[in-house]
Symmetry: C2
Subunit: 379 residues, 2 copies
């Protein structure tokens, strides 16, 4: 926990890049923030999965977002800070597309700058969560939200008191979803009973496209493949295949396995998720998914050797199918109760959209700062 955590004025729920961009912008301006995250680490869909092979070798996979860009100046300024801090770097992959019947077509080089976290995508959220004034409370699910006497009162599992706050930012849309109940022993989604019906209804209406990631490691690099990132079209399971090990700052010891990440397409994932469990997925079921996706990749790359390691991950909340913000709006905001809802579902399913939505929420809260107690150092 960083300094100032005990006196956090604002609670942010969700330690993905949206929540942490919001929190670190507020903290930089002198507003201490507590960030609650159900998972053990920050990152959300900008996480990096570590796996240790039986041989002791360490593998790392960016199993969520593959790269991101910065079209907005405010985001560009943040990205430059991350690059300067050594937690992000530009990536210039050899890109291509694969389409059934057409095969592989290389993409022309473009002027777009793509960035990744280094040494893994999660480095960015780890960096943001360790900023002064940001107190990351990992492994802490928020199960209750109550507006009482002009403050937000948060409770966790078994009724644990998680503090009171002058303002609240909800980035985890599960807090308005039946998925929350499935993942939390039948508890109702906390935003439903928080007394902000309009905001709840808008977040609850967000539809998502689920997704699976298949993490693959090969003993030898797939040097015969002339791409580092492949957009896959009209394929029965896949939409993306990326050579994770080609990203800057990855472990590249001689003889180290090469890591790849495949993403499923929406139709396949939707069908499998509808058939599958609502709660925690079983290893067996994920194994079936892995087999499907691996078979799909072999269709594209017939000469593919057997991987050393293959594991599927379900992104259940997945990627928003919508962008619900109105023109000129980048987050949802209830002024009377000082609660914002933000995420890539506001502006579109991109890392940059998530950041912009988080910054917009931070700005809404900063405008109420007469109601907050700021760090004296920032006056």
């Amino acid at each position: 926990m960083s300094a100032g955590g005990e006196h956090a004025q604002v609670a942010v729920i969700g330690a993905g890049v949206c929540g942490l961009s919001c929190a670190s912008a507020l903290a930089k301006a002198g507003v201490p923030v507590a960030v609650f995250e159900q998972a053990r680490g920050p990152g959300g869909r900008m996480s990096t999965r570590r796996q240790t092979l039986e041989t002791g070798e360490q593998l790392r996979f960016d199993h969520g977002a593959q790269y991101f860009s910065a079209k907005d100046l405010a985001v560009q300024a943040l990205v430059q800070e991350w690059v300067a801090a050594g937690v992000a770097a530009p990536w210039t992959p050899r890109l291509g597309t694969w389409e059934a019947g057409k095969g592989f077509v290389p993409e022309e080089a473009d002027s777009k700058v793509r960035y990744v976290g280094v040494p893994g995508m999660n480095a960015i959220c780890q960096h943001l969560s360790s900023q002064p004034g940001v107190s990351a409370r990992l492994g802490t699910a928020v199960t209750g939200l109550e507006w009482r006497d002009g403050r937000w009162l948060l409770t966790g599992k078994d009724g644990a008191a998680l503090g009171t706050y002058a303002a609240l930012v909800v980035t985890d849309k599960n807090l308005a979803s039946p998925r929350f109940s499935a993942l939390n022993a039948g508890l109702p989604p906390p935003l439903e009973s928080a007394g902000v019906p309009e905001l709840f209804a808008r977040v609850a209406a967000v539809s998502s496209i689920p997704s699976f990631a298949l993490m693959l490691a090969f003993k030898q690099p797939l040097t015969q493949l002339p791409f580092d990132g492949l957009d896959v079209r009209n394929h029965k399971t896949l939409v993306w295949a990326g050579r994770d090990s080609a990203k800057p700052g990855r472990l590249k010891e001689p003889g180290a396995p090469e890591c790849w990440v495949l993403h499923s397409n929406g139709d396949y994932a939707k069908r499998r998720v509808e058939e599958g469990p609502a709660g925690k997925p079983s290893a067996e079921w994920l194994g079936e998914i892995a087999e499907d996706m691996l078979a799909g990749f072999r269709e594209i790359v017939p000469e593919m050797p057997e991987p050393l390691f293959a594991r599927a991950h379900r992104w259940g909340g997945g990627f928003p199918a919508v962008a619900i913000a109105n023109p000129g709006e980048a987050c949802l905001w209830d002024e009377s109760k000082r609660v914002a809802a933000c995420g890539d579902y506001c502006l579109g399913p991109r890392v940059e959209s998530a950041i912009l939505s988080g910054l917009a929420a931070a700005n809404k809260i900063f405008a109420t700062r007469e109601l907050l107690t700021l760090s004296k150092a920032h006056l």
Copy 2:
């Protein structure tokens, strides 16, 4: 001229805080910018006027903006940079109001944070104009704007070529005003013939309230007055009186004169400006204004001693009477010709509004960056 000036991709006209906020944001993101300013120094209405008395003593007056605040997080982040760079500081003046028939009423202390430039208001624009990638071309009037072969071609007095640029930012609204002709030997306002009729019409329609500043210096501090800043209401000439020397970082040698700045009210200024010259005002005419305003101040402060120094300044362009931006819009933008018009007339007559409008223009231009040649270091 800073590094990169020869290859500036964007031209900004006007080195006030709007134009320089725009330029420095672009430069920070790797887009080199040339900033053209007719005056000898940057600052616009955030300027500081130096005067040397016959005794050799130096006086400095913030004769334009008196202080500013930051309600927006992006502006707050900039202000924190300025404070860290030593060019801005918070100011906690004793404030009050004076109203005819009621006299002086002290204002309750509030939680609002007010900032000023140090050692003078102009320090902020000087700082911004010396950022890497910003090339300030002072004393350089732009008299012609032509869109030719997808570039903006700028010309100066006597047809001097001022370079070609991929994008253009106009912050000086005189470029769309008959005032331009009055100040430039009858030349037509350059934006009129620039081929952006809609943008021209919107800027040309901006109405302004002129203003006079009276700079006063007293041998002895006016210690008997219990305020550093006074909002004056229902007075025939004045709207503000401020003790400039009370601001942080001002020269405070023992025995140094105390500097004050008074601002005229809009009705008085409008009447005098309508009677007065369209071009450069005469010293005699400004002397009459100074007498009026000094008499007005004596009405408020009957015990006022004779000042050592009194000089009036006309802010002819003055302060916008309108905020012309549409909801969700913070600057005017013509996408097809990559030209932005920005200034405090978009969002309201405040320093913060000028900064936000300039940042919005920078963002519009940054979004076209595939058309720009960026510094390689920023890719």
